[in-house]
Structure formats: C-alpha cells, structure tokens
C-alpha cells in the first residue's frame, strides 16, 4: 500500500485564529481512517484544504502526488458536512449531474441503492427528511469509484438506524484500494470500522495509531480513550 494522502507542516490561519498549527500526516490507500476530534479541532479545515476549498497559509498537502486542484477533484469523492446540493434537484437529475461531472460515477449502483430505499426518482431533495437527504448524498458519493473518499461528519444528526445504514453503505461500496477518511466526534459508532485513528486537538495531531493498537495498549475502546484525552 502506498501513501496517497500526505501533508507536511500544514498551517491554516483565519485572521489571527490558527486552525491548523503545522500538521504532518501520511495516510495509505486501502485503509479506513477516522479523523477524530472535538468541535473546533480543525477536522473540517483539513478536509476543506484537501478539496481546495481553502488555501493553506503555509506547508504542503498532496493527494495521489498532486497538490489539490482539478486533477485531485477527479480522484476524491467528497461528502461535505452540510447539505451541498441545490435542494430543488430531484434524484434523477442528481444522477445525471453526477454522471456528467465524474467519469468514475457508477450510475447503476446509485440507482440500485436509491431503489432499495424506495426513494422516487422525481422527489426533490427539499421534500426529503433530513435522514433521507443524508442517505441520498452519501449514495451519490459512494457510487464513485474514487481513490480517496473524504467524508466530513457523515453520521452526525441522523438517528441510529440511519447511522447503521450509512456505515454499511460505506463498507459495502468503497473501492478496496481507496483511502476512506471519516471525520467525526461520534467515535463509538464508527470505531469498529476504522483501521486507524487520528486524534486532532486544537489544530494539532496528538495521536495517529491503528485502532487495534490503541485497544491493546490502553485496554480501552477508542471512544473511552478519546474521552480521556479530550476531557474538559
């Protein structure tokens, strides 16, 4: 497995607030990695930098060897942490939209998943419940045969049954040789699917380890260990 996501001394400041304070991180393909940290620790900033929605203040970030840009957008399937699609769009239009934009979009796979959820093709996003909307967005993202999946808070704000559905959809659909990076603070829900955990605290990485190592060395679950590291 090779390093597909790499940053070196990555800094991002917003005015006089420094959200990322010099992060160095290497992630390999074929792994599912949790980007774990409390609110405001820099998770979304890091993911936005990787998608070139933000520019680094200093330092370097490379995905599949490239600085974030047009090329990396073809390789990355990105799920933002809030609704990101026009809410008047219907599911069939969204399928076409994704097919037009991304050559790696597997429309048939997306249709099958939508069908199994009984989501009508003429239903606009704004008529869906929050849980259904999150599922539809995730289905679009996971139907891409991407090299890197960047999922920002995919399970926040939905009920436990929807969480299970979302995690199962991720496990069921990601490309075997891809990197899946899941940012969340709901660790108990995701820890059994993670290979590795990255703890982000106040803009710095305080830990990067395999989840089995964490369990073995601390005698705690990743969730319990997280609560200890981030105790307020």
């Amino acid at each position: 497995m090779s390093v597909i996501f790499e940053c070196r001394d990555l800094v991002k400041s917003y005015g006089n607030v420094t959200a990322l304070k010099g992060i160095s991180l290497q992630l390999e393909s074929g792994r599912i990695v949790g980007l774990l940290g409390p609110n405001g620790s820099g998770k979304t900033t890091l993911i936005k930098l990787a998608n070139r929605l933000l520019q680094p203040t200093s330092g370097e970030l490379r995905i599949a060897g490239e600085t974030p840009g047009v090329k990396t957008k073809a390789a990355i399937a990105y799920l933002p942490d809030k609704d990101f699609l026009p809410d008047w769009m219907k599911t069939d239009a969204l399928l076409k939209f994704y097919g037009d934009f991304f050559p790696d979009f597997d429309r048939q796979r997306a249709e099958e998943m939508l069908m199994s959820l009984n989501i009508p093709s003429n239903l606009p996003l704004k008529k869906m419940s929050k849980g259904t909307r999150e599922k539809v967005q995730l289905i679009l993202i996971m139907s891409r045969r991407a090299q890197v999946y960047l999922l920002d808070e995919p399970i926040a704000g939905v009920d436990p049954a929807a969480r299970d559905y979302i995690l199962r959809t991720i496990l069921n659909n990601y490309e075997e040789n891809a990197l899946v990076l899941i940012s969340t603070h709901l660790i108990a829900d995701v820890e059994s699917v993670l290979d590795e955990a990255v703890f982000l605290k106040e803009g710095q990485i305080v830990l990067h380890k395999s989840t089995d190592e964490i369990r073995e060395e601390t005698g705690k679950s990743v969730d319990e260990y997280f609560r200890e590291v981030f105790r307020c």
Binding site: E176, R215, E216
Partner: protein
C-alpha cells in the same frame, strides 16, 4: 445486525472468538465453505482489513484452510475442532469459577450449585 464488541481488546481477537465458537458449535460445519471477507465484514459491521486479519489468524491456527482461487473452507480435522470446543468450554468454566469464587463460594458449594442448576435446566 452488528456484532457487539467490548472495549479494550483488539476487535480482530474478538471476531476470532466469535468465529471459533461458530466453527466449534458446528454452525459452520467441517469442510463447509466460509463466507467471503467482505460479506463477513459487513455482517459484523467491521472493516474488511480487520476481518481479513481475524481470518488469517484462524488460518494460522488451522481452523480455516484456503483452497487456492476457490476461497476459504472450515477444516475437516475433527480432532482440531473438538480441541477448540474444549478450549472454549474451559474458558467459560474458568470465568464461571472465578466469579463464583468472588461471590465467596467454596469449591464444594460451586459443584453443588452447578449440579443443582443443571437439573433445573433439564
């Protein structure tokens, strides 16, 4: 649908215990074809790499056998399977004895209680 994992123990080891039990109890009979990694991972709600590691360890123990290109099968070695069953039984019994001793029971009392409960179950 997901398996229940305890904290503080690597998940692949917990998976191994579940699968060992399923093989020892005959839920997966000797010589039967084992489900694919991805399928099992999905059932357990874990990462395929974690499941792969558990299966590789079970293979090292001899409980699973890989037949090239066709997949993984449960061993046909009956002796190994019954040894696995006694090991698992011994583990449960040790745990039971431990907690009964914690309760303050003597060995005689433990035997009596177990016999009593066995009759009740029958």
């Amino acid at each position: 649908m997901k398996w229940d994992f305890k904290s503080g123990e690597p998940i692949y080891q917990q998976i191994m215990r579940v699968l060992r039990t399923q093989i020892a109890s005959g839920e997966y009979p000797p010589g039967c074809r084992f489900p694919a990694v991805r399928e099992l991972a999905l059932e357990a709600g874990v990462n395929p790499n974690t499941m792969q590691r558990a299966l590789a360890e079970l293979e090292r123990e001899g409980l699973l056998v890989t037949v090239r290109t066709t997949g993984k099968f449960v061993t046909e070695d009956q002796e190994l399977i019954s040894r696995t069953r006694s090991d698992l039984a011994a583990d449960s019994i040790r745990a039971l004895i431990g907690s009964l001793k914690n309760l303050g029971l003597t060995e005689e009392q433990i035997l009596k209680e177990v016999e009593h409960s066995l009759k009740e179950v029958e």
